[in-house]
Amino acid sequence: MADTIKVAMADLKVGRAPDTLISYGLGSCVGIAIYDSTTKIGGLAHIMLPNSTQSRAGENNAKFADTAIPILIKEVVRLGAIHSRLVAKIAGGSQMFNFSSSNDIMRIGERNAEAVRAILKKEGLRLIAEDVGGTYGRTVELILDTGVYKIKTIDKGCKNM
């Protein structure tokens, strides 16, 4: 029986086929999907912020790109995925409101995407597809049976990548 596992904001989940991992309504957040096609094991993280350096101990590690990605990798490897076979796909990082302000928090989507790319590279994961930026929200779904990362929007259509 295939389950749909929901990943909340600032959360991460892992699973194996035939399950599906889903996260709803990403704005400036980035949904990071990693997948091993041989074992059909994968994980999805919904990060809000680029780095945890201003954070204090005890806070939620799934919230930041720099702490969430290593945990996500560790968890899928624990389930049986092989690190060297893992590939990544990312989506999100939009700017929902159009400000002229150069305030950092307004550009957070862009900064999130940059941080995610850098950390994936550092962790030795290949980024094979991305759908980032824009001014609209996305729902992301990682179908573990196929590794397809499905991106849904309200009026910009739906795509599989």
Binding site: M9, G25, M48, F97
Partner: protein, 210 residues
């Protein structure tokens, strides 16, 4: 910040609820004059909720909503977000524009201005109440509008809070108005920036360091 939010006592939450009550009352009066209908308003809820639970308050992260966002400037900066389900936003602008039927889901530029103005009026009414209680002058930014999934729209305020903690203080009021054959619903959120909460509590004399 997270810890501070979890330490708020009943008296402090009551004080915040009272500000919310007067603010929402002002806002409802303003809104009711604008659309020429009676507005029902819930007693404001003041809650300290995990950040990831906030989208659930407006029907879930994937619910399609119109959000008017304003920044608040002054000694107690924060954010204001007025959220309506997309259908309510249409009913409200159609009513304002005297439109009987809607043949597309597109909003005209005039519709968007009207929605922003509604957000502006509601926010102004709320900030006046806050200023009255705290004697702190608070000024709203120009309103910004987006129509999209609730989670995506709320991410702008939630990421700012996420930088310092895992919880959000949400002062939330639900509005509804009977528009004849349809209904308008809305949620109003006042989210103080980290640090502003202390300023507000201090100003109304319910801060307790002990």
């Amino acid at each position: 910040m997270s810890d501070e939010l979890l330490r708020l006592d009943a008296l402090q939450l009551d004080a915040l609820r009272e500000i919310g009550n007067v603010g929402a009352g002002n806002a409802a009066t303003a809104l009711s004059q604008l659309i020429n209908r009676r507005i029902e308003m819930s007693v404001p809820k003041v809650s300290v909720a995990p950040i990831s639970d906030v989208p659930e308050l407006v029907g879930g992260a994937e619910a399609i909503v119109a959000g008017v966002f304003l920044r608040v400037f002054g000694k107690a900066p924060g954010s204001i977000m007025f959220i309506l389900p997309r259908e309510s936003a249409y009913v409200m602008v159609d009513n304002l524009m005297g439109r009987v039927e809607r043949d597309s889901l597109e909003l005209t530029e005039m519709d968007e201005s009207a929605l922003k103005e509604i957000g502006n009026i509601v926010a102004g009414a709320y900030l006046n109440a806050l200023a009255h209680f705290t004697q702190i002058t608070l000024l709203p930014s120009i309103p910004h509008l987006a129509i999209d999934m609730a989670g995506a729209i709320l991410s702008i305020i939630l990421t700012a809070l996420g930088q310092v903690g895992d919880y959000a203080l949400v002062i939330e009021t639900e509005f509804s108005a009977d528009m004849g054959n349809s209904e308008i619903k809305g949620h109003f959120f006042l989210i103080p920036d980290p640090g502003s909460l202390n300023t507000i509590l201090n100003a109304i004399g319910v801060w307790n360091d002990g």
